[in-house]
Amino acid sequence: MKPKKEDQPRIVGFLCKWCSYAGADLAGTSRKKYPSNLTVLKVPCSGRIDPLFVLKGLRLGFDGVLVSGCHPGDCHYQTGNYRARRRIAVTKKFLEYLGIPEQRVQASWVSASEGTKFAQVVEDVVENVRAIGPSNLFNDEGK
């Protein structure tokens, strides 16, 4: 099924269950408006996010990937997000080097009390990704 035009761009978000996911919940319960382009996947910690998830998301046709976890110092498991930070950093830089525009892979820290920030982050990410157009990174045509 071809996604509808208004659904573009499609973003997949990996959200830590202790903070960003709860932040998304808060945004919902406090009736914050944000674009519906985000497909949320809950992960137990941002440290669970393998760079592989990011590429797999893009491979499946998502136009952008958002990775979100707890603010440094707030990790439920003490150090998960510190480790995630290094991983995200090398992934972002390396994918840029391969030729994937940096806007397609984004990361944020959103705590459980930051519903407003979450809505803002999603809005910004969607806007960023929309600006560079749909992803045809893994399409075969034009090879």
């Binding site: 930070r85 290094r86 390396f94 030729g99 994937i100 944020s108 090879k143």
Partner: protein
Amino acid sequence: MEKELRDQAAKLLEEGTVDYIVGFASGTLKHTTTPLITGDKDETSSLVINPFISNNLATYALEISGRLGIVAKGCDSRSIVSLIQDKQITRQDIVILGIPCSGLIDLKKVEKLAGKERDEIDEVVVVADKVVITVGSEKQEVPAAAVLFDHCIGCELQIPQEYDFLIQGPAVEIRNSEASREKIKELKQMSPDQRWSYWKQQFNRCIRCYACRQVCPACFCERCFVEESQPRWVSPVSQWQDNLIFQAIRAIHVAGRCTDCGECERVCPVDIPLRSLSKEMYDLVGEMFNYKSGMNAGAPPLMTAYELTEVESLIR
């Protein structure tokens, strides 16, 4: 240099300090060497040291149980240290026979320069910072940098830092880190789209033989993500999309373990410039985290350590 190594290896086996010696012997083809793994002290007489000892023998430290005596160039010793950092091997089980290295010769470059095939070339000898190529009665002298592997030109450790015995010998300084990044610099001048199509083309050729993974001492996972079937992350069929994901993820997974030994690129049967990926990653972690893999056995591995504040600019 060779005699000292052979004597030392034989002595280690005789004393029972090690169960096996892992080193290099002459290969069956001209200008090649092959790994020699032996527990027999008489066989140590076939150990060689020459500019063609390209394998990174640290890989065998993972595969062979028992105490090993490993012949290690600078880059190999870094791989060994990196494995110790990752607790894949213990320092006590390894006897490092360090050898100084003036760089390894890339036979493909020699063939191109001389315009001859491997078998037609009689001799390739390193004389200080020059290499003399002999074809029949003709001798051609070229600067060493013209025929050394790219990663050797960028070598940061010609004499092992971590060793039990250091074989004495010359290590001619060849370092030219700019020249070893030539290909990467060219890539960086392209637009992202151009780079992506460059890699697209390269990985179209990949046959997924996994030679790069097998030869890599940093790739020590018992089960690689490409072989997982639930979920199936990448297709086992060779298509450029999956080939590219495999290699990109491999590069990210070995970030902080890769010592720029250049083995992945050397073994690639379809000549994909894999070092242009691994070296960029190597430099990235150096730049971002000031981290050099395999330099300090006591340091925590890159991806398990952290600073309280770092790389925050990349995150919202």
